[in-house]
Symmetry: C2
Subunit: 310 residues, 2 copies
Amino acid sequence: MTSEQSRIRGVLSPVLTPFNADQSPDPDRFVRHCRWLIDQGVGLAIFGTNSEANSLSVAEKRKLLDTLIEAGVPAAQMMPGTGACALPDAIEMTRAAVQAGCAGVLMLPPFYYKGVSDEGLFRAFASVIDAVADARLRIYVYHIPPVSQVPITPALVERLMKAYPGVIAGMKDSSGNWDNTATMLREFQPHGFDVFAGSENFLLATMRGGGAGCITATGNVNPRAIVSLYHHWQDADADQRQAGLDRTRAAFAKFPMIPAMKAAIAWKTGNDAWCNVRPPLVELDSAQRTALHAALDEVGFEMPNAAMVA
Amino acid sequence: MTSEQSRIRGVLSPVLTPFNADQSPDPDRFVRHCRWLIDQGVGLAIFGTNSEANSLSVAEKRKLLDTLIEAGVPAAQMMPGTGACALPDAIEMTRAAVQAGCAGVLMLPPFYYKGVSDEGLFRAFASVIDAVADARLRIYVYHIPPVSQVPITPALVERLMKAYPGVIAGMKDSSGNWDNTATMLREFQPHGFDVFAGSENFLLATMRGGGAGCITATGNVNPRAIVSLYHHWQDADADQRQAGLDRTRAAFAKFPMIPAMKAAIAWKTGNDAWCNVRPPLVELDSAQRTALHAALDEVGFEMPNAAMVA
């Protein structure tokens, strides 16, 4: 992850949130994991989908953010997720992120009501921006229709960029639909709207299309190879590197992603507390863990300096 | 709405939340609307989908609940919605409802993550029940897959009833799928699980199937006729009454339901502040309001004592 013209770019990861056995977040392990990610060159999209962030209260998230800041983890490398169903929650989290000096925020639309209009979504984002009222605010809109079921259309992006130039800074596209990412790259990237692919599967294509990088779950577990492709996407072996990333991701994707990534870290660190997830998620069972280890061994998976995260 | 064997039954309504022009809730108008509903014989399923409850923060909801209690609105006629994506939020709201003496709570499953397992949903409900740890707790599970996208299956209901007999008190079925309601009535109603239809369209069928009533959006605007069918479902003209309810609901359903119900109240009370909704919802425009008035006139819509709600 690098910073150019005060904009965050590169590879970021929705940081997995470590839980204790009683389902409370483990702030110390969270700090250690964030430091390890920074060491690997990965930016911190804390409080993303893969962070189980929507299973955390606003108070819990604010406490975790404060803990990171107090621990000296650089806010300039953070892009916290701050979107919420309730605008007061989105405003509170966004304000906290801006005041902490975060590089930007990754903002889900309100996602309870389905089939809502672009006018309603525009008003939702506008309400947050107007309430936070801080020139430092940089919003990356979060398009993840498979989960949120509430898409962010090109027409909405265009309207937001016109109304809030500079504030609307980019997008994470987790649609899994390359045509949509290509549209965003073509229409908006040239106008200062940084497009991040929502997984490393599209990292090379995104870089070739002029994009800013990717924000990807598996950055939590396979950062080195992903960051390496980001830096070497113009090299002759880029397609080969991309194929390698895809193989590792596919090994994880045979299982529920969040529990699988946590199980992989538990395996490599020897700390089974990493397996803990919050309901409604469920940890991998013993047979799944065995199968995961085999699938990861097959693609030569390793976690450098895993002890840092234990 | 009546209370039998200390269980709430009859017609309840997800109480519309009145907002001021600045999007803040209007507690006084909320109290007035609740009093009017009680006068009409309708129970208070405050903080439901049609209350825009997921657009409210936990703090806002707790304040509104406190306001009702302080105003002397009877908690025994309340079934607040308390489900949330984040378990700490669901626990806090559920605990507040129980401590206020509410008849029960209507609980959404955590709804951000899709495709989750019954095991994960069981753990989510169990976590709330175990944390609240109060023998007064009565949970009505809220099945509304068109919005939540996270269904509550018969298998999950069965497991919850076995693990928490007495606490798991019933369901609101907003699937819109009569086969599902019929299954719930057949399998669980005889075992003390009160099935409420999610709209008055299924009120008569639900009563004939031994159910407990309905929890319906249009209870906010058409309470008298709906409550009347509840009391007279065994009368000879019950089918005719049901057809009348269906016609009125269909008139509202030509428009986005929440803004349309609010516009109808604004029309009948003369208070345009009733039109206010929170993003991502959008109020009806002037042409839609004119069309709504015509559609409602056509079915003979009226709001008795509307001035109470103004």
